[in-house]
């Protein structure tokens, strides 16, 4: 079972570019990345794209497919209506290099600003005991494959270009994985507030919707971090608020 599909793929670089049309044979079970590879092999050997695992594990193949942020390797061709034209273009939040490839190095610079894991002292028996339920809490965040699709859709970065002031959802997830790590003893709250710019997030949840790893970025990472920041830096106010709200003092 195979059929001819009409693809519109962005071709271009910093100097400009536009969509180019390709007619491609798509076989049963193919994903968008397979079709891109077929275009490379048969029609446009210099078409740039990133990929590694072809199984949703490495986060290399992010792109916008029909305007939606997706992993190309996990987007099956048979999810589109037959005859539909399929557009593929690069993610938007980062500068274009060429075709489907963007310069994501900013993310790696942000990561470097986050103080690394700092373990608390070991137990007297020379181990760290950590229960599975404690591990579960952070393992969700540690599933992140750094596809940067959440960075792509977050309006703070995408529309307002606040790359200088806001780390973006990916690094809120990373911060949560460290801050909630049962063995970690470092304190990153000041950084989260002042340099990470957590206040810029207004909880639109767009990031959560696109995460291919189903990480509850907003509910489980960002909101709890916001609460911790509020507890630390606005404590008198929160206390006051709690009194008025009838919560009384802790």
């Amino acid at each position: 079972m195979s059929n001819n599909v009409h693809m519109r793929v962005f071709r271009g670089d910093q100097t400009g570019g536009g969509f180019k049309d390709y007619q491609v044979q798509a076989d049963e079970g193919m994903v968008v990345l397979d079709v891109i590879h077929r275009i490379q092999a048969e029609q446009a050997p210099d078409l740039s794209c990133r990929w590694n695992c072809k199984a949703g594990k490495c986060g290399s193949c992010s792109a916008e497919v029909n305007g939606k942020p997706k992993l190309m390797c996990m987007t099956r061709m048979d999810t589109f209506t037959p005859g539909q034209t399929i557009t593929v273009e690069p993610i938007k939040t980062f500068p274009l290099i060429k075709d489907l490839v963007t310069d994501v190095s900013w993310n790696f610079q942000v990561n470097k600003k986050i103080p690394p894991f700092k373990p608390r002292p070991k137990n007297p028996d020379g181990t760290w005991r950590m229960m599975q339920y404690e591990a579960d809490r952070v393992q969700e965040f540690r599933k992140c494959i750094e596809c940067f699709l959440c960075q792509d859709v977050c309006h703070v970065l995408r529309n307002h270009g606040k790359h200088e002031d806001f780390f973006g959802p990916r690094f809120m997830v990373r911060l949560a994985s460290l801050e909630m790590h049962p063995l970690d003893a470092a304190d990153r709250l000041k950084l989260i507030k002042e340099i990470g710019g957590i206040g810029f997030c207004n909880i639109t949840k767009c990031c959560t919707e696109v995460c291919p790893e189903d990480i509850h970025i907003t509910d489980n990472a960002i909101i709890p971090l916001k609460e911790r920041v509020a507890d630390r830096f606005y404590d008198p106010l929160t206390r006051l608020f709690r009194i008025f709200a009838g919560g009384g003092q802790k």
Partner: protein, 602 residues
């Protein structure tokens, strides 16, 4: 003079998977000026895809485990062709390296009393694989990556090495290009650590990504270093077979570790018919016994009976599957069935094997909690690679080191699952230390000849000048099909000889590839350069396979079935004699008594 940027460094690490990262961390910690380059972005190397876990005899899940048992399992799994010193060091040091990862922030799955949990895998006597669900590699690479970026080192992403340079008999540097601009970079390096992984991309059906083009093996050989055990290619028994576009993608052995069974189109659990004599005493004889083992193990008890035959070593299981299919008992798409749905509850499957669940539902429309998976062998891992010193990881060329999949020795004729992730950290650390020590002791120069650099750059750019040459994608596809057919899971003399003839022809054609477009992020150009390495590595595999006239581990010959005791006494080296590839038998030195006793105790 061609145009390029120059960097100076004490240690250049090529590759940023587990092995490269661990080597770079060690080298930087020892005060060396360190640079690390990689073909992809940081955190995307193959290590990220590893699923099942890292083997280390920590004895958290079964107190009977120890380095001695791990050593014995590794040697038995490798059909006694392993470098025994490496197998010993690996078994002894793996627990420390895993604990160190925890110290750096890794969150492994836990035992009920809060220690690192360990799971069963093929060929391991006790539950031994530290794991995080089925995304162990992701956890490992992320932890190492975060450790590395906070150390003093220079990191070059999407920067591919195409040539190594020597001065006299020592390594002095490397040439690389960056993908984004196509610019060249010369690294004047006092020592080089290869951590480039394997070369599965020479085969059609493979679990490997575009990066795996055998670069390290090829670069080392071109620099005059010996390769070892190249005939041993691991075909993992469980790759996906359908849909075609995803053929080869890995289904973790963890599925069988968690109780998955293999059946043919008659519904028979066929692995009981394929238990080799050497393993008869270790494997369950009946369905009932095998099922009891699974029940005991998943409830956290010590197993009192023998393990299921599905957990035999990979070479045995892969060949059994090929035989079932050949004799007409395969699935409609040419595989067999792997069934976990009838063995575990849907909840358990989703919790223990979440990414497998995800992968099948998304890519094959198969719900593995309800239906069996269709699977078949896929080219997965190279046991062979650069011949190294077991303690320092130095190759036969001064200043050139190798660790991880690109190195050889630890796994012998067949690697046990889980022994790679532990290999990366044990020997990655050793290679970093080895390189640092070499730099401190010998104070090498790093003087690269300008002429060599110009020649290398000219070679890299030549494809742009060929206006009517061949398309690199087409040549790659032909190479893959040829290797799959003639040098695949079942080999014979006639086929291997044909393969050598074909390789000669491919080599001629590869000199006339042509590339369109510019140097900016041009995958066709990148592939043209990768092909040089694939051809060299493929030839090394084929020549060694022709020489070993027996079947052992990851090398099976239909014209020489079974072990030949004479070949138990030798490893095969691939050497560079004036740019000609030659095979040489290297006699094995006998095991020292205390290690010999460990192997024979069983």
């Amino acid at each position: 003079m061609a145009n390029y940027k120059i960097h100076e460094t004490d240690v250049l690490v090529i590759g940023a998977g587990g092995a490269g990262l661990r080597a770079a961390i060690e080298s930087a910690a020892l005060g060396m000026k360190t640079a690390m380059v990689m073909k992809s972005l940081l955190g995307k190397a193959h290590t990220v895809m590893a699923e099942g876990g890292a083997a280390a005899a920590m004895a958290n899940a079964d107190p009977r485990d120890s380095w001695k048992v791990h050593f014995r399992d590794t040697m038995k799994g490798g059909k006694m062709l392993n470098n025994y010193r490496m197998a010993e060091l690996h078994a002894k040091e793996a627990p420390d390296r895993i604990n160190e990862l925890e110290e750096w922030g890794a969150v492994f799955d836990r035992t009920p009393d809060g220690l690192i949990m360990q799971r069963n895998f093929g060929g391991h006597t006790y539950p031994r694989l530290a794991h995080v669900g089925d995304r162990t590699g992701l956890e490992m690479i992320r932890v190492l990556q975060d450790k590395a970026v906070h150390m003093p080192m220079d990191i070059f992403m999407e920067c591919t090495v195409t040539h190594l340079f020597k001065n006299g008999d020592a390594i002095v540097g490397a040439l690389a290009y960056t993908r984004d601009t196509g610019e060249f970079h010369l690294f004047q390096a006092k020592s080089v650590v290869l951590a480039t992984g394997g070369g599965g991309k020479a085969f059609t059906v493979t679990s490997n990504s575009w990066e795996y083009t055998g670069d390290g093996q090829s670069l080392a050989w071109q620099a005059g270093a010996d390769l070892l055990d190249m005939e041993f290619v691991q075909f993992h028994p469980t790759g996906m077979v359908w849909p075609l576009s995803i053929r080869g993608a890995l289904v973790t052995e963890g599925v069988r570790g968690e109780g998955g069974i293999l059946t043919n189109n008659k519904g028979e659990r066929f692995m009981f018919n394929y238990i080799p004599d050497a393993f008869k005493n270790d494997v369950a004889a009946t369905d009932t016994e095998a099922n009891q083992w699974v029940r005991e193990v998943i409830t956290g008890k010590q197993a009192t009976v023998r393990r299921p035959p599905e957990l035999l070593t990979r070479d045995v299981v892969a060949r059994a599957i090929v035989n079932e299919v050949r004799e007409g008992r395969g699935s409609s798409h040419g595989g067999v069935f792997l069934d976990i749905a009838t063995q575990r509850t849907a909840d358990e499957i989703k919790r223990k094997l979440p990414s497998m669940y995800h992968q099948f539902i998304k890519l094959a429309n198969v719900d593995i909690t309800k239906e069996p998976m269709e699977i078949g062998p896929t080219a997965h891992y190279m046991m062979g690679g650069v011949l190294v010193h077991p303690e320092t990881q130095m190759s036969t060329v001064k200043g050139l080191f190798a660790a991880g999949e690109v190195g050889a020795g630890l796994h012998g004729a067949n690697r046990l699952g889980g022994n790679s992730l532990s290999d990366l950290v044990v020997f990655g650390k050793r290679a970093g230390a080895g390189a640092a020590d070499y730099v401190k002791q010998t104070k090498p120069s790093a003087k690269v000849s300008e002429h060599d650099v110009d020649a290398a750059i000219a070679e890299n750019l030549s494809t742009f000048d060929h206006k009517s040459g061949e398309n690199p994608y087409a040549l790659h596809k032909e190479l893959q099909e040829m290797m799959n057919t003639y040098v695949g899971i079942m080999r014979k003399e006639e086929d291997l000889k044909k393969a050598l003839v074909e390789l000669d022809a491919f080599e001629k054609r590869s000199a006339n590839l042509s590339v369109v477009g510019t140097r900016v992020y041009n995958p066709g150009w990148h592939l043209a350069m990768d092909l040089r390495n694939m051809l060299i590595t493929s030839r090394a595999i084929t020549m060694a396979a022709l020489e070993r006239k027996e079947s052992r581990g990851g090398h099976a010959r239909s014209d020489y079935q079974g072990y030949d005791p004479n070949y138990a006494k030798v490893n095969l080296a691939i050497k560079n004699a004036n740019r000609q590839m030659v095979v040489e038998q290297i006699p094995r030195s006998p095991l020292p008594d205390e290690l010999k006793n460990l192997v024979e105790e069983a």
